[in-house]
Symmetry: C2
Subunit: 224 residues, 2 copies
DNA sequence: CTGCATCCGCTTCGATACTG
DNA sequence: CAGTATCGAAGCGGATGCAG
């Protein structure tokens, strides 16, 4: 794949030359939540081989999408981070999440789910039209410290914000449960009953939680 | 590639399973301008092999992104068209065009350019903030009938519209020249002088043409 | 002519083993 | 921890064949 080129004068073709090989866009997605080490990426991408990961990172670095940073002495290691050009992919990635979300219905229960994917998932599925004027602090369970964000509804749409602040209610839940809640496949009460969530604060705000998002699941797999 | 799956519960991974193989997204891009026959696609995708094109189309059809339509008797042929699910990719594709456009600076002059790519390109590069209150009818030269669209500036951004209507000026040009004009790499007068364009109407509107678009070219290839 | 299927030589992928 | 080396398997591009 070394330096494959489509013989096309087209921005989509240029983007595909950089991104449309196996694993590549998933590496970029993982780096959107912050810099990662080689082995962190390997863990987050079950099935990738070391050689392919090394090759993808080298190419993304060469093309200016990713940069390598050496950490200061105590941590004798280096991390990979998105460059400005890489971060500019955010709108495209958000739209791809919105599109790909319709295929999440056919859930494959053994699939891996990184907690760090949840914030971008919620941001992508945030309702763009008027949504309930509620604010919910969402705490994504990670096994260690939860990821904290706030989901804010309003007349101009739902926003997802990473800074702390006041909220009508707090919802702490497993990554899977959060996605199901946002998709409206589950209610907060059901998630609590199943031990996948803890809630505090205004029950009405939590009842409106799925109203803060929009999701268009595919009816079902067309040909199984 | 037959039915490769990432073991990830993530919309980006689901989308990549469908789209992130070589040629696949370019097929979708070409179908956005309307249904095409197998051989039309082959012509628009120089370098693709017949077997890969057939396989990609079969997969896209199976996954519900593309559908095959049999044309009525006189034309004993069939065409491929996007389904509703396929058309839902438009926002993602637009954002990918915006991102990929920054790599168009390193122009490879022998690259193929389909006139049908131009409308989506202009739509993607349309300025999103306030733009000059001008309307320009754009006629993309194709070798046969030109593709006609209108570019409309205004305080809420530039819109690209496919219906005919009044315009301050008319700009008929080669596909390459149109992209260069939108990118601000060329002025209308220069394009005319080079025989790549014809203009009519308000010269001021044409002078503002590149102001209707925004493009952020990469400074240069980071490592050649 | 259109829409593939088949075969061949080359590239890429995934899994494992190994090294600084 | 962060890769490189290696090898069988799968994918790809190009040519050819062939049915409708």
């Amino acid at each position: 794949m070394v330096d494959f080129r489509y013989a096309q004068l087209c921005p989509v073709a240029r983007a595909c030359e950089l991104l449309a090989s196996r694993w590549t866009l998933l590496i970029v997605r993982d780096l959107f939540a912050g810099p990662l080490r080689f082995s962190d990426l390997q863990r987050a991408l079950p099935g990738i081989s070391t050689s392919v990961l090394a090759e993808r990172l080298a190419h993304l670095e060469q093309r200016g999408v990713v940069e390598r940073r050496e950490l200061p002495p105590p941590a004798a290691s280096s991390v990979y981070a998105l460059t400005e050009t890489g971060r500019a992919l955010r709108p495209a990635l958000i739209e791809l999440v919105r599109w790909g979300a319709r295929f999440m219905g056919a859930s494959r229960p053994d699939d891996h789910l990184e907690p760090r994917w949840v914030p971008m998932g919620l941001e992508a599925m945030a309702r763009r039209g008027p949504s309930p004027a509620r604010s919910v602090e969402v705490r994504v369970r990670t096994g260690h410290e939860p990821l904290v964000l706030r989901v804010l509804g309003g007349p101009t749409g739902t926003r997802v914000c990473h800074e702390p602040g006041p909220a009508d209610a707090v919802l702490e839940a497993e990554p899977r449960a959060l996605l199901a809640l946002a998709a409206g496949l589950l209610t907060a009460d059901q998630a609590v009953a199943a031990g996948q969530a803890l809630i505090q604060g205004d029950p009405a705000a939590l009842g409106d939680f799925s109203g803060l998002f929009e999701m268009n699941l595919q009816p079902s797999d067309p040909t199984p």
